[in-house]
Symmetry: C2
Subunit: 233 residues, 2 copies
DNA sequence: CGACCATTTGATATGGATCAAGCGATGTGG
DNA sequence: CCACATCGCTTGATCCATATCAAATGGTCG
């Protein structure tokens, strides 16, 4: 059901160092002033695939910017099931909290470079710089919007959930009609509130109706966006 | 399935007037500085039961504070189903948006008094008053937290959803173990992503196990919170 | 090559939806 | 003030989408 027991490496301060020249998938940090500031203020860290970045109930003293790779946030429910709260790709900011502690855990989906900024430093900067404050507020608003969409996703049929997910990923990665999924079927299932079997079968179903192609399990080609959107609700 | 077609009264400016002496269930506005400011800045309006306060896709030019009564926000999905986003009781603020338009509709569940504040006025005030800005930010954080909890709710079993809902309502209304529900079974069902039949049967089930009592359909007595919490996940 | 792990595929079980009545409270017109 | 219509809720019978259990397949890495 749940995948491998989470490795839990201590945060490795030896990997704190200035960013090296950007590898291919690094985020263009000139785009977003908040991400830009975080780059300047923060420390770059590397997290190997499946390693924990922070844990639920740990103090939320840092905010994180994905430079490369991708990240999932999740929560383990009392019955052992895992609910994935969201996926964060290069350029995305995660770990934003309003309470003292994190309400989710975060793990690297693939080897990830992340810039880590002290939350207190960020709020202090927001106090001095109104543009940053606005940006931070807007970011929170986007996170809220995304979470509201997640709620809507979870009341739809399996087909609708998978179709919505694919369209969302296509928008976020914007590589034409080819979506490279960084996450496993289990991650997708736990995000959509389905089982891996249902995700797999649903993808197969969409392939059968020629809405998508699945050349490899991590690569999906959208063949008929209109059909997917029609399912989208 | 969906209840009566929404009445759609124009906003009645004749009800714009200073607050009269608080009726019994009015919110104690001294508690929250943001609510306090909204009281001062805003106009009081009354909305009859089931009337629309704002509609999805309308410009989000106002923010709302519930003075008395209660409010639901919701969205109609393409297949006609309704998803309730949340319930807002006296003292709660709703209608907060970060885009130009509302992403949900809002209706009065029972006759409701609401204070309406221009969004631009509120953001202007936040620009001048750091305490208000903080409060607004914190409010957004709470809304985000509540929405994240809603996500977690929707992946649980019917029993767990209903139990969680009852516990949440008990916390929010804090009338000991007696919960007076302002909303219909249909409202609850659409919030929990279930049908009214399932909500009804699940309440009956909880009653059978002596976790709750249901003296009238709108009144629930929590007899065994521990049992409910155990279901809560 | 062989082991391991993710994914797919198949067979069956089940929780909640759907369809269909029944029931009780509330309000309305005669 | 009663008979009756209405509406929200409950209860019952059946169906179906997705979960669960089980096994086969395929890709990756030592």
């Amino acid at each position: 059901m749940l995948q491998q027991p989470a490795v839990r490496p201590a945060i490795r301060t030896d990997s704190l160092r200035p960013m090296s020249p950007a590898p291919r998938s690094d985020f263009d940090r000139s785009a977003n002033p908040l991400a830009q500031s975080m780059q300047l203020m923060g420390a770059a860290m590397s997290f190997p695939r499946n390693s924990e970045i922070f844990g639920e109930n740990e103090p939320a003293d840092y905010v994180y910017l994905v430079v490369s790779g991708s990240v999932r946030t999740y929560k383990i429910l009392s019955d052992g099931r895992r609910q994935v709260g969201g996926f964060y790709l290069a350029g995305d900011i995660f770990g934003l909290e309003f309470a003292d502690d994190h309400s989710f855990s975060a793990e690297a989906i693939s080897d990830a470079k992340v810039v880590v900024v002290k939350r207190s430093a960020l709020t202090a900067l927001a106090g001095r710089d109104a543009a940053i404050a606005r940006e931070l507020f807007a970011l929170t608003g986007r996170e809220l919007g995304r979470t509201r969409d997640h709620v809507l996703l979870l009341v739809k049929s399996a087909q609708e959930r998978v179709a919505s997910f694919l369209l969302e990923m296509a928008t976020r990665t914007s590589t034409g009609n080819v979506v490279e999924l960084p996450m496993s079927r289990q991650d997708i299932a736990d995000y959509l509130g389905l089982t891996i079997e249902t995700v797999s079968r649903t993808l197969r179903g969409l392939e059968t109706t020629a809405a998508i192609e699945v050349p490899t399990s991590r690569r999906i080609v959208l063949r008929n966006r209109a059909a997917l959107s029609r399912l989208n609700s």
